[in-house]
Amino acid sequence: MTDRQPSKFRVSRRQALVGLSAGAATGLIASPSLILAQTPDAIRYGHLTPRTGFLGPLGEYGVMAVDLAVEEINAAGGVNGRKLEVLKEDSVNPQTASTKAERMIERDKVACILGEISSASCLTISQVAARNKTLFVNTGGNSDALRGESCNRYMFHVEHQNSMYVKSCGRSLMAQGLVKGKKWFSLTADYAFGHDLLKVAKRFMEANGGQFAANKLVPTDATDFSALLIEIRAAKPDLVISNLAGNQITNFLKQYSEFGLSFPVAGFGFDTALAWAAGKDNFGGVWPCVWHHLIDTPETKKFVAAFTKKYGKPPENQAWGDYMAVKIMAQSMNELKSTDTAKILEYWEKGAKFDVMKTRPGYFRASDHQLMSEMYTITALPAAQVKNQWDLFTSSPPVPGPSEDLEVIATQGDEAVCRMS
């Protein structure tokens, strides 16, 4: 293939120009970081999150939140008196994510990497981060495995683990009598996150006396659920459980309501943006949530007001995750007067407390670097009671309750298998 042959196709100059300019235009739009100016003495964070694909819509909330956090931090004097700058890129998929992480660390000299939603990409980024002794704060990957078998010293998790989601929603399902002696029909996203969630859900169900009518693995690019709805109808389960992810949840909810099935629905993985996308006519069931815009604390109210003012819509839970990560990182660097990775790591492992906009402060658990904070269970309101397009649900009080330890909803004992290397 080395010798050059005369071109078989004659391309006119005009045609080439049109092709090139179209390519260039899309290139510029597709990689916004290329056109960002870099200030020499700024402190730089790297932010990676999916902006395309089935998790893209959630990633966009993360990006909006990062912009807001940076604005606020710089307005308050920056980090150690220097301006904070965040390089943001679309992580696309696990392979691309690790390549971009590597480039951000080596070429752009970022102080840390934040972000991500896909558990599979979290894993590859964390490997790059560990190799380069750079902190990676995971803001959206839920898989227990990331805090278990695959945990590492340089990875911290603002996003809560699957176990916390399952145990908080599970408490509510138990209270409604939907677990003991009941048959569940579950739908599971066929990738790392879904498999992990299924494992955790199974453990919870078996420990509490429930059983499966069936479990179906759903390809992540499947958009039509009619075939599964037919099966659910035939199986007559006591509860339909969604271990789905991203847009899948919206598609499922829309079509579940379309087919008029009446079995109760609950889910273990959830993001409020998906409820908003389903709309009041279609959103139903009981879901766990790490944070939502209706939480009644002054910090949440402040954040919701600032976000709504800037973007014209309330933030969803992914926005909380990325906003918290930027704020926690900046606050720690300011308190330590340093950007040194080892110092921050030690500070967090020793249990530094952070305001996470909930009723009690959060802290990173030293054993697996999981942020410990309260969860919520939300329940869809009937369409007739919905007043606007955002407030589609009611929320439980914080889980666990005020007299309980935050540990009760997290992995414990032999569920927690992290050995830091």
């Binding site: 391309v11 092709g19 893209g56 693995l217 958009t223 009619s226 109808r233 847009n247 087919f259 908003w276």
Partner: protein, 291 residues
Amino acid sequence: MLTLFIQQVLNGLLDGVYYLLIALGLSLIFSLGGIVNLAHGAFYAIGAYLTIVLAPHIGFGGAIIASPLLVALIGIVVERGLFQRFYRSDPILSLLLTFGLAMVAEQSLRMIFGAPPLSFSIPAALRGQIFLGEFIYSRYRALLLLIAATCVLGLWFLLQRTAFGRVVRAGVQNPDMVGALGISLQPYMVAVAGLGIGLAGLAGVLLAPIYSIHPAMGQEIITPAFVVVVIGGLGSFWGVVVAALMVGLVKGITIGLGLTQWSTAVIYLMMLLVLLFRPRGLFGERIQRFE
């Protein structure tokens, strides 16, 4: 068990009809102009977004008519402005062009409407189910099916039974001969692009109430549509129809057998088999200028 299996097969068959609206337009535009339109999915997305904008003002019924027409209009502008420069040139060029166009369209939707998915529901009057013995089907999907089937039959009639169709078919086989007969293909190209892209817009309107509406939704639908066109055979009307139904059918059978996780992979496997044993597709005709 058997009834459930039959239900799945039937559901799969009906499911295949949605691919048709996209795949037919894709095939038409390729047959006549040799344009591999990677932006076809983007027009589907535009159709869905237009519905969200228009429906509150003119109702869903109005949007079913207006959105595809507007999308067709955009299609005509794109054909005049871009496609016509690439007819009969290396397909790689049109591939690059339409790939870029798809990205520009997706990014524009993201800039105008935001990345988070938007909500749109089935109008109250069309909600509910139909029971056919054991088989349950949504009333909305029945309507969708009716509209799609009407379009397919209408298109077939247009291509097979009218003077317009005869010129288009002749143009597909031998554009030089058509030119020699003193017929300019240009207005036909415009009409075909408008028609094909309008059909993608129609699919966007029809699927908006049951699928998630987000800027990248076009990518989700374009891949199976391409698979359908490749299996059916480029340039063959009935090939695309049969392939779309087959893809749905095979999907339905896979799910009926309890292999849900394979339901997407299996259609790529089908395409692989067809490409191995009959590279021009099941019903594909030899089109000299592409070989």
